[in-house]
Symmetry: C3
């Protein structure tokens, strides 16, 4: 029950980010709702397809749809207000990322996947929604370029995989993994940490 | 049998739209055929993957491939002719949308999905092909911006879900749902109906 | 065993092409690794999802991940060196294409698919990675425009399907199919063979 609420909260925050992108691109109301849904649920849906949970829970449970639509409507009608909250939204977004990465890894491990694929799928759960959101508006996904976003997700996923391997209690592992992901992401935002970028013309 | 023919007709019309996009982007012959196939079948394939019909019928039945290739060849070699028929093509396209949305919803309900996901998947069946077509040529999907396209698909899907819930006869529900979708789409085209678009800088 | 090594070699070469695209687009280290993985594995993953091999082997076997990451790191840190090897890379890439197309078709046939879908899925295995690579950096996939790339993959796939239909020995069919694909691709590169491109404004 707690897990479902946290999962829906993560969906809601990611859906907000999708809707804000849609409004910035001047999509119509429906386009904004599609971007909300895509950003909030594409990561989880892809993970579910790849581990064989069919139909994916984000499609089979109306609550995910409702939360995504709610986020889309809020942004569509009160964009300036939400935009002013951008900084708190980034913090919630970090929380959503942490939650999705940790939950996704756990779900993959429960399906019997090996450590490496489980961590990959956990990371994909966290970053997939943002990638589809950006592809749909023909931009190079921001996660491929910035701010340790995916690295934070991967760190959280690795904590879960290690904890699972050493048979630590699942609740503790979840909290530490999520905290690790959230901490890296927020620190990267605050301090402008970045990965090195590629230099094609380096001598 | 009738259903298969209608489904192939819908595939054909959507494939025409994909091929026309490909020709406008000056792709080569193969690229045009890929866009035909993607526009005609991506919606149905995605739905089939999400409900677990593996392999998807659009891949497993050569008739879908044949119809898509036929549409691609027609457009590649007789583009000016097809282009002059653009207005009838839009009407067929509306028919294809209606059919795909209604069929897709029915198929999802037959797989035991709940009403909300079934309607979503029906809508996705209708709009998925056009979305992939536009993404492949790096344009923001037109369905996110215009002309009640997805709303019409959703309306048809909702009619089918409601009819299913009240145990109305399936043939009648199919006809009413498809008519509803087709009617909304054509009326929107004729009268320029649009959803409100987002205004990021609204005071 | 030989097959696995050949498959990993194909993944490696495709991953190189993904990483080079990422470096050219000045992505960060992580973005380059994502493009490596996408280019090397998206075709095989899509095929596996469509034939129901869940989880896909590219995700479930850490060796595919390791090979992709290795290719990404090599390109990220020694781009100028790899860039100078561009011509040998294109030859390896042709070999990877041949292998993926033939292997993918064989895998689909082993899952009981009919000839037409098996050939399609073989071709998709060969070209899927390059398509996702280009979509992620918002370019129209080069395979839709150039150099008989997909045609070569399809030719190899058709050879396998025919050989399977006539019950020829699998090893011979594999070699002939791969040789056919590789030969067409290399000849097209050397001699500038192209498919006709579309002319939207033809009189």
């Amino acid at each position: 029950m707690t897990l479902l609420i946290l999962d829906l909260l993560g969906t809601f925050v990611f859906a907000l980010s999708g809707a804000m992108t849609g409004v910035q691109k001047r999509l119509d109301l429906f386009g904004v709702l599609v971007l909300s849904f895509a950003a909030g649920n594409a990561g989880g849906i892809t993970r579910d397809v790849l581990i064989g949970t069919i139909p994916p829970s984000a499609i089979n449970d109306w609550k995910y749809v409702a939360v995504s639509v709610l986020a889309g409507l809020l942004v569509f009608f009160w964009y300036p207000l939400i935009d002013r909250l951008r900084s708190p939204v980034l913090i919630f977004d970090g929380a959503g990322l942490a939650l999705f990465a940790v939950n996704g890894t756990q779900k993959a491990l429960n399906h019997g996947l090996e450590p490496v694929p489980a961590a990959l799928l956990g990371m994909l759960t966290g970053i997939g929604g943002g990638m589809l959101r950006d592809i749909l508006v023909t931009e190079i996904p921001v996660v491929l370029r910035a701010d340790l976003y995916a690295v934070a997700a991967l760190a959280g996923a690795i904590v879960v995989v290690l904890g699972h391997g050493f048979h630590f209690p699942q609740a503790a592992v979840t909290i530490v993994g999520a905290g690790c992901c959230f901490g890296i992401r927020i620190a990267a935002l605050r301090r402008g940490w970045k990965l090195p970028a590629a230099h094609p013309s380096e001598p």
